[in-house]
Symmetry: C2
Subunit: 220 residues, 2 copies
DNA sequence: AGCAAACATGAAAGGTGATTCAGGTTACGG
DNA sequence: CCGTAACCTGAATCACCTTTCATGTTTGCT
């Protein structure tokens, strides 16, 4: 069984194991990520691993939870300062892509969770959707988003982000040779195209054609 | 090394191995899918496996290619009779969801390909996107779709389908208890919501509202 | 300083699974 | 009804991994 560290040294050791595990799972995959590799990468003895984690699956789950919390934090934080729904969408997605660029582990690990830990995978997606759907519902009440099922929309929009991120962030921009290892940002035109799809998909229907404009629009 | 069968018996044996592999990879995952399990499920001797496949990874790749060809065929076939772009989208997605319901192996296997065979995974997605982007470009030329980058749009739309399928097909409809093992179709309202997003996202801009009356916008 | 409690360690036990191979069985042209 | 090529087989080999544990080291407290 795992145990919580009781001293500063133990805390540090546990954290190093977690970080190493994220690395190794992401680069080698669950199957090839042996405990030996994780402890080596962490610079820690093999046996020590079992002081803090019950086993391979247990540390995997913890890595998933950790990544989930971090990516949601990044997105929420980015969207918090937005003034309208569209701004929130754009900044949220931008934060997601940035996180993806800086932590490719997110994708690789979530995908593996399909078999390694289906429950953890499901929790990951559902947590993101929940807050996304909340945001959409609120925007809907405010009239910024047309009537729609916020949950279905949230899954669809998250899907767009997922594959766009995979293609344009993880699979380095196809074609243009870029050798440096620097994490690339989402190309502007890709984000623009994505936001255009989203905005048009969510926008309220235009008011009845030639709708009687309110008083803020003056006609003489 | 693998070898092609030279007799009817050999052909049958190879096909049984492939089918069994799809099953086992999908239900147990690559890691837990031992050759023993595959050959047992196929009702074939262990050693026989190596007459037809070079190893575990080789048969995995072949399963991926096979699934890819089948799902694309299903989608293309469904979209072929459509009269306009929107119809094509709807029928294509419907076919994709139906295929997903009938062959959950598709998702589970593609996701694992991330590590097992990144090349095969990439080919899978890229093949789907290529034909999707072609369709969009053609519709664009025909004026049925607004100006946009067909490739970016194709990735985004495929992403919607991927996550919607995962949520509403693979994760049996959340909440409503349905015990039977029958593959469920996509709920109508989900498909409707999805199509609404797509249609609005792709539709050409409405022609200048109410016949472009130049003279009514006066700035003195 | 002195002493528990925490912490660290890696050799070895106990498993599992991919792949090989030497030896049978089946199919089919002649 | 032969003979040969194709096909089939599963025990054995080899490699590698998770997990345990007996033994040593460090930390924090008094």
């Amino acid at each position: 069984m795992s145990a919580q560290p009781r001293t500063a040294r133990g805390t540090r050791t546990r954290a190093r194991l977690l970080a190493a595990a994220e690395d190794v799972f992401a680069s080698a995959g669950y199957h090839d990520a042996s405990i030996v590799r994780i402890t080596e990468q962490a610079g820690i003895g093999l046996g020590t691993f079992y002081l803090y984690f019950g086993g391979k699956q247990e540390i995997f789950d913890e890595v998933v939870n950790d990544l989930n919390a971090r990516v949601r934090h990044a997105m929420t934080e980015a969207a918090r300062t937005a003034e309208d729904r569209f701004d929130a969408e754009r900044e949220g997605f931008r934060a997601f892509f940035r996180f993806t660029a800086q932590h490719p582990a997110l994708y690789r690990i979530i995908r593996q969770a399909e078999f390694v830990s289906p429950g953890a995978q499901r929790r990951h997606y559902e947590r993101i959707v929940r807050s996304y759907a909340h945001g959409l519902a609120a925007a809907q009440d405010a009239g910024e988003v047309r009537p729609l099922d916020p949950e279905v929309a949230a899954w669809a929009l998250m899907g767009m982000g997922e594959l766009i991120g995979m293609r344009y962030i993880l699979w380095e921009a196809g074609g243009v040779g870029e050798a440096d290892g620097a994490p690339r940002d989402i190309p502007d035109h890709v984000l623009d195209e994505l936001m255009a799809l989203i905005q048009r998909g969510l926008a309220p229907d235009a008011p009845p054609p030639a709708a009687p404009p309110r008083e803020d629009v003056r006609h003489d």
